[in-house]
């Protein structure tokens, strides 16, 4: 039985983080963690409380071979095209999108999107993914993307641009899927400033799309990024949620 008492739960989380919880108990605790966000938060609090203990250890520099092996593993086939995204990367506070989950406004928006997506799409989205993207500057939701995870043919992304967006002449907005793991961003095409629009993407992207961690929208020259990778600043980004 999973304990309900907050003190008991907290001490279990502490013993898990400390490492004194072993064997079957540890595996059972890990199983609880999967479906218990409050328990995960308590574990996180213990990680933060105890982590400074590591500051008492004098640093030990690893041998040069360690980095070489890491490099070989993360980069099995050296791809020269993967270089050259740094100007874009340097300019973006990309990680901000993770704070999305805490934004109350975004949740309201999410509910709105879900309802509206279902109504306007004749196939009705049973299983869908949605991304609420935040403006990189203001951190306010500025657009959303939703699509059905199942279905035949080309996946159709329903895009809503919030407010009265303006696009500078000679520029374009390009939408990118951000994969989990070791892959670069994948272009999903150009979008415009219309409040509601649909973008079709090649069918073979469906799997990647459904597994994407997030999406970003970058400012590009007219016609889109010349390099196939994001080349301008990120205007908005957000995390994918399954609904």
């Amino acid at each position: 039985m999973k304990p309900q008492n907050p003190d008991t739960r907290s001490i279990l989380a502490a013993e898990y983080v400390l490492g004194t919880m072993r064997g079957q108990a540890r595996r059972r605790f890990e199983h609880w963690l999967k479906s218990d966000p409050a328990l995960r938060r308590e574990m996180g609090r213990w990680e933060a409380r105890l982590d400074p203990l590591c500051n008492t250890l004098p640093e030990v520099q690893p041998g040069a071979a360690v980095w070489k092996q890491i490099e070989a593993q993360i980069n099995p086939s050296r791809d020269p095209a993967s270089a050259g995204t740094t100007s874009w990367l340097g300019s973006l506070a990309f990680w901000r999108w993770t704070s999305f989950a805490s934004a109350g406004l975004a949740s309201v928006l999410l509910a709105f999107i879900v309802v509206n997506t279902g109504r306007s799409d004749p196939t009705a989205l049973d299983e869908a993914m949605v991304v609420v993207m935040e403006d990189s500057e203001t951190r306010n939701p500025s657009m959303s993307v939703a699509w059905a995870t199942e279905g035949r043919g080309k996946p159709k992304l329903r895009i809503r641009v919030i407010g009265h967006a303006e696009m500078a002449p000679g520029t374009a907005w390009e939408l990118w899927a951000l994969p989990n793991g070791n892959e670069p961003p994948r272009s999903l095409g150009l979008i415009n400033t219309h409040e509601t629009q649909w973008v079709e993407v090649p069918e073979e992207l469906r799997h990647q799309l459904n597994k994407a961690a997030g999406m970003a929208m970058s400012l590009e020259p007219a016609g889109g990024s010349p390099t196939g990778r994001p080349s301008g600043p990120v205007l908005a980004s957000g995390k994918c949620l399954r609904i």
Binding site: A48, P62, I74
Partner: protein, 183 residues
């Protein structure tokens, strides 16, 4: 820590130069963490290597609202190291453990002092100081050195139940003290 946040964000965008920089900045501390637990340099380096590959592959799941980059990475390394020592045949040298126990005793100037002077650690240091020496030692032995309750019981020559009580009371007290300090 903002610099690490930025590096993590760039790693999520598959920027390998940022990843190299992240490694340069954090591998010394993370290797120390692994080494304390497994106590063999070749093993610790293997753990470090596996952990960094994991960090690269899962950096997009890192949530900076939930945890600091260093805490997140340390957790990955510690869990990997703890898995390692739970394999059978792992041995602990008694001399080394004696050193730890002494270090964390009441009047020892060692680690507790270092902790007081390290950035972001003073609350933990102050709160650890309110624990009994036995509580503090058992928490340090478990957290930094990966010892189980029974290994501590054997080494400190105490009944298992006593060790469990030290750990639990120590944790409860630590939580109370740190929550009060943060409030």
């Amino acid at each position: 820590m903002d610099a690490l946040d930025d590096l993590m964000a760039r790693c999520a965008m598959r920027d390998q130069r940022a990843f190299a920089e992240l490694y340069r900045k954090t591998s010394g501390r993370l290797l120390a963490v692994a080494l304390r637990v497994v106590r063999r340099r070749d093993w610790a380096e293997e753990i470090l290597q596996e952990s960094f590959v994991n960090i690269w592959n899962h950096v997009s799941t890192f949530d900076r609202v939930r945890s600091a980059p260093m805490t997140w990475m340390t957790t990955i390394v510690r869990n990997r190291a703890l898995d390692w020592v739970r394999r059978p045949k792992h041995e602990t040298s008694d001399e080394e453990l004696d050193g730890i126990v002494e270090n964390w005793a009441d009047d020892a100037p060692g680690p507790l002092d270092r902790l007081r002077h390290a950035a972001d650690s003073s609350a933990l240091a102050e709160c650890l100081a309110t624990l009994s020496g036995q509580q503090r030692q058992s928490i340090a032995l478990a957290y930094l050195h990966g010892l189980s309750h029974s290994e501590m019981a054997e080494h400190l020559d105490q009944p298992l139940g006593t060790i469990k009580t030290w750990v639990r009371r120590g944790l409860e007290r630590l939580r109370g003290c740190m929550d009060a300090a943060a409030a």
